[in-house]
Symmetry: C2
Subunit: 726 residues, 2 copies
């Protein structure tokens, strides 16, 4: 073991020589004397088990994309990227591997396990007061954090660096379906949005846009003259976002396949032959993304679609999902065939069923695949959690080589913390279950802890049937998530807003428009959370240290100014809410109906709040401001010169509004627009100042609520202009 | 169509000539003129669709055993008995078929569809304000109810008659596992209960007690000398409850099989041969329970085990579950074999998976099976929902012929409303999910509406892994359900109380003992709910007509005196509660720790209530009483001569305590013990009278809480004795 120290509150221990994950900005650390390690580490031959104590009152936050509540106590979680569309409460692994957690205790602490293979966390399941970390390997790094909850997150996030930033249009509403099968359908979807006066910035192309599911091809039949089609949609200011699969179809004449074979770019089997698995297209090889030459090659393939005008992608099936391997299918078929004519009882019949059910994503397949990690031969199982991450890194590197300064939209399914700098994620194949709306709410903070700021769930649910009420309530939450996408699966009820009755469609329109109205605030908070290594979505205990706050599992802080307490239950027309301090509840409906009767001052403590189907409940923290603008149907047409600022200001408030061109990478780190709002209430009168370097700014209308709940409208059109802040 | 009228508030329409379900006590009805039918009925050739309007504020209660909340709006439910162990929120059918619902409206109404086949209810899913009933047949009866919610339930329940009543020991704690594999294991389980000072009245024998899963056999190997074994356990006052499967193993020399074939007692295929399906034992025939001769024959088979001392059974797999039919398996294997060597893509691969997955409980198998319904040949599909019901009726008739006056324990998995008079039900193969604890809570009232008073869920969850916290919280609710059973599946974490850490075991002991302490109240309320056609568990709106009450989805009234608001979330240490009137919260811990500090007076309205892990939150309604006794480890040893009466009595209260010998059927309807408690508070002093026909009664200790929250202890040992009330 080696011991390292860097900044205050972070200690590092190296157990053996880990396979690099490219997660931590290493330069910060220097070797040091040994130091005290909490808990007991049981070092075994092939794995290490770390046993740590929890106190009865401790709350455990983190583990990124995983099932169950914000407080992870009471269950076992595995970091092992898994394609499993049934996110029931017993699933130990989802698509991401995010080995970072924080224990909110009298003296909070956190741990990050930097490792490419499987790690299991028993968070007080077997024993309520014991946290067990089982690392399936002996070569890994561990980082131990101390500080407040907020400090620990800041320290961890600075270690992993800045997160991926999408183009600003990525904050628009995005519509998806598996699948829109041809140009006409996509076009008609785009037209319907305009027809129904619904905002939309992007439409996804799921697997059927390709020719026989071959990456980087476009079906000639159904999407002929793709370049013109992409550009026609751009004229409507709608982007197309095609899907890319991890597996490359085995088909002679298909250049990606042939180049891969020729250059030995694919993962290998035990005998050094390209490993054969099957996914959407049937049999495929998996590009060996752990190899930098392969990444460069595959990354450049994205240029083909970019040459046709594409500016965003979603990488899918990159856990990697394996429907079956050649050998696995053969064995299963042979097992099943052998049952012919037999009298199968409960045990032998379930053996048969399981033989077929367990054919996919089998451990033995993963263990039969090998990588050439820049010269080092490694078994796939040992680096499983890097695969989707390195695929997406390949894409990100490809985008960079295509247009170094330009931001591209990128979301991916499998992930590892190291990937957060390259891409956003969506939370995979959820269902149209109210429980999954709740899961979406509860997962946002832990995704942010792992660095995934640009993320969101398939709104309305991917699998299963959504009711109009579910879609409405879900949107009332997901309009706050940076990625706002409605996606649904083949064979399920169609989920585009106009597929529901008129009342629902009308409500949905108002909700999505409210998203566009909020973009100035949402974008500003997103960017600041990134620069400052903070959470965009946070549990209440991120800001409030009372003992009630840490027990709240269904409310969120959103940036600096807002608290959310969404309605996530069928037929519910209200809910209980805990306010850690006095706040103003805004029951938002249509943006144009904004009026003082929508606001109510609520005291600290518990409240039951009625929430009608058309109301978005938003809680304004005291002394904070929210910046909005009039909604439009595209992000690009939002008028950010005329703003609306809303706030509950008992005495004073200030807010820094961040903005930039939303397209260029450089702006992320400084060349930006900043506007500082300051509001003071002196002798029952508001005094306002606005300092800005945004020369385009014209008018700002302030809606301010004072400590008695009264509403004041103040219009401002003079500013201190052009003082640079950065 | 024919129209019928009976008592006030009930109207009946006969569409065609229905296949009898033996659900309704027909004699009440007489034919009448036609009358107004609400909604629109679309009569098609092979089914009828009934379209009814809902108002925005309407709440829909009912549909018995089904998924989702108490208010069924927002989803589609199918009445089609189904063996599906994954009770996810998208499952339209569970094990029972319960076609009765009530719409809580300004003028409440309800409908019961008396039909043996499939019925689908779209309760505001496709259109939020439309309730669609799709009856898959044209021959059925429909009953339309009017009145208050409570009246409608009373009217329906009097139509279906008195519900099944278990022996009183059926209110004890019951322990189960798939499976305790031999005598020694069962014995050791029984001993562990005593060793750990844990109450227990019964242990279940899951499928492995039989010889090769043959009904009415006992494994010689593992359960030799079964009669002595049963009687040894009875000496410990523990009952054994063996499982019985619907399917009869095909095995020559097995008498049940041979008799069935010889007498043509099995369901037939298209060619009149006994239908071959497979379940636990492999290939089986299904007894044709729709035939009264078959019921008589099969019912008598239970006598074998009763001769060995068995007094209770659970009938399982009687939807009927079909793992596979001979033909279905053959087709599937042949389909799979044909895929050998093929390159399967996403669609063809899922075809293969689905071929195997859909082998079980397939519609085509059900449609290939035929009954001889006392002379009438009917296709199984058309009477599917009667199968489990008539199996259980066979058992009940068998018990009756064995010991006409004796009560037997009987629970079954598949059910139909008509069965409620014969048996209790457990809610099937749930999971160790917090969501299923909530489902358990939410399902109790709708089960009661369908007449199933003796019911409960597998506490701790059947599938999956339970944490100590989950089991504790679950028990804190299920100690109130008449059936209190802990059951878990093979391969999952063992769920007997001592399988958890000591703190958990200690908490569980206190919780189960509290159940035994409450048995006087629980039994009394159970019996009265039955006599009076009332709900034992009810939504708040059963008693309270404020607009808040009907929105509450996670609180229950339990009998006349109590309200429950259980904690059902992981890591939760409290919850929000709505009180429709002033109540006293009792945070019960160990019975012997009962003291005045556990009680808190709460005003009408919303409250956040802290609930520590060892606390059972119980709400005492004003002017009502709860009767308890000191807990023991068996029901039979409870001392019901010395009682404790607890109540929140601002001015006056009265309570009728029902009791009987708990074993004899006759007592159900009258020859019982009744004690009337009357408490009046006059000039700040309590005046108590107790009228009883229970000559054994010795002392009663009253713990009374007044309107200021003060606690008064009054001991009473003189009563007005031997006045008969009935």
């Amino acid at each position: 073991m080696k011991f390292f120290q860097s900044v205050e509150g972070v200690q590092k221990i190296s157990f053996g020589e880990m396979i690099p994950t490219d997660t931590i900005l290493e330069e910060m650390f220097k070797e040091t004397e040994s130091f005290y390690i909490p808990g007991i580490i049981d070092k075994r031959t092939s794995h290490h088990i770390w046993k740590l104590n929890l106190n009865e009152g401790d709350v455990v936050y983190g583990l990124g994309q995983s099932i169950r509540g914000m407080n992870k106590r009471g269950f076992v979680y595995e970091s092992f990227c898994t394609d499993d569309p049934n996110h029931t409460p017993d699933k130990k692994s989802l698509y991401g591997a995010h080995n970072f957690f924080v224990v909110l205790s009298d003296n909070p602490w956190g741990i990050y396990i930097d490792f490419a293979g499987k790690v299991t966390f028993d968070v007080g399941f077997e024993h309520q007061d014991i946290l067990l970390i089982d690392v399936e390997g002996v070569d890994f790094d561990a980082y131990i954090f101390n500080g407040t909850y907020k400090e620990i997150i800041g320290r961890f996030r600075s270690l992993i660096g800045q997160s991926y930033v999408p183009p600003k249009w990525g904050f628009g509403y995005q519509q998806s379906r598996w699948s829109y099968v041809d140009k006409n359908e996509v076009l008609s979807i785009a037209e319907k949005f305009d027809e129904h006066d619904l905002p939309c910035d992007a439409i996804y192309l799921d697997i059927d846009y390709m020719e026989r599911f071959k990456d980087f091809t476009v079906s000639d039949d159904r999407f002929s003259d793709f370049k013109t089609f992409v550009s026609d949609l751009k004229l409507k200011d709608i982007k197309l976002i095609p899907i890319i699969d991890a597996g490359v179809k085995i088909e002679s004449g298909y250049d990606v396949y042939e180049e891969g074979v020729k250059n030995s770019y694919f993962c290998k089997d035990e005998n050094g032959k390209p490993f054969v698995a099957a996914v959407w297209p049937g049999k495929v090889h998996f590009p060996d993304f752990l190899n930098s030459r392969v990444r460069e090659w595959f990354g450049q393939k994205y240029h083909r679609l970019m040459d046709m005008g594409i500016e965003g992608f979603w990488n899918d099936m990159n856990e990697p999902a394996i429907f079956y391997s050649e050998q696995g299918l053969k064995d299963a078929i042979s097992f099943v065939s052998d049952q012919e004519g037999k009298n199968l009882d409960i045990y032998t019949f379930f053996d048969l069923k399981n033989k077929i059910m367990n054919i996919s994503n089998s451990e033995s397949d993963y263990k039969s695949m090998y990588h050439n990690y820049d010269g080092m031969k490694v078994n796939h199982y040992d680096v499983h959690n890097l695969y989707g991450y390195f695929m997406t890194r390949a894409a990100a590197e490809g985008f960079k080589s295509y247009a170094p300064e330009k931001r591209h939209l990128m979301i991916t399914r499998a992930s590892h913390i190291g990937m957060a700098k390259h891409s956003g994620i969506w939370t995979g194949d959820n269902h149209s279950w109210w429980e999954h709306l709740k899961l979406n709410i509860q997962m946002m903070p832990s995704l942010g802890m792992a660095g995934f700021l640009y993320s969101g769930a398939d709104t309305g649910g991917f699998g299963g049937e959504a009711s109009g009420e579910l879609l409405t309530r879900w949107l009332q939450f997901s309009i706050f998530t940076p990625l706002l996408r409605n996606h649904s699966a083949m064979g399920t009820r169609k989920q585009e807003p106009w597929m529901f009755e008129t009342e629902t469609l009308d409500r949905i329109r108002d909700v999505i428009k409210m998203r566009y109205a909020l973009v100035p605030y949402l974008y500003s908070e997103f960017m600041k959370a990134n620069f400052n290594h903070e959470l965009l979505f946070a549990p209440l205990s991120y800001e409030y240290d009372d003992s009630r706050s840490k027990r709240v599992e269904d409310q969120l802080l959103l940036g600096d100014s807002l608290m959310l307490a969404p309605v996530y239950e069928q037929n519910s027309r209200g809910r209980s809410v805990y306010l850690p301090e006095k706040m103003v509840l805004w029951k938002a409906t249509a943006y144009e109906h904004l009026n003082e009767n929508q606001f109510e001052l609520l005291e600290r403590g518990y409240h039951f709040v009625d929430v009608a189907l058309n109301e978005i409940p938003i809680y304004l923290k005291p002394g904070k401001l929210v910046v909005m603008t009039k909604p439009e149907n595209r992000i690009s047409t939002l008028d950010e010169s005329n703003l609306v600022v809303l706030g509950f200001v008992p005495d004073h408030a200030s807010y820094i509004l961040y903005n930039d061109d939303g397209l260029t990478k450089g702006y992320e780190s400084g060349d930006s627009l900043q506007t500082i709002f300051k509001v003071d209430r002196i002798n029952n009168k508001y005094h306002i100042s606005v300092d800005t370097n945004d020369l385009a700014l014209k008018t700002i209308t302030f809606y301010l609520i004072d400590d008695s709940g009264n509403w004041h409208v103040i219009k401002q059109n003079t500013f201190i202009n052009d003082r640079r802040y950065v």
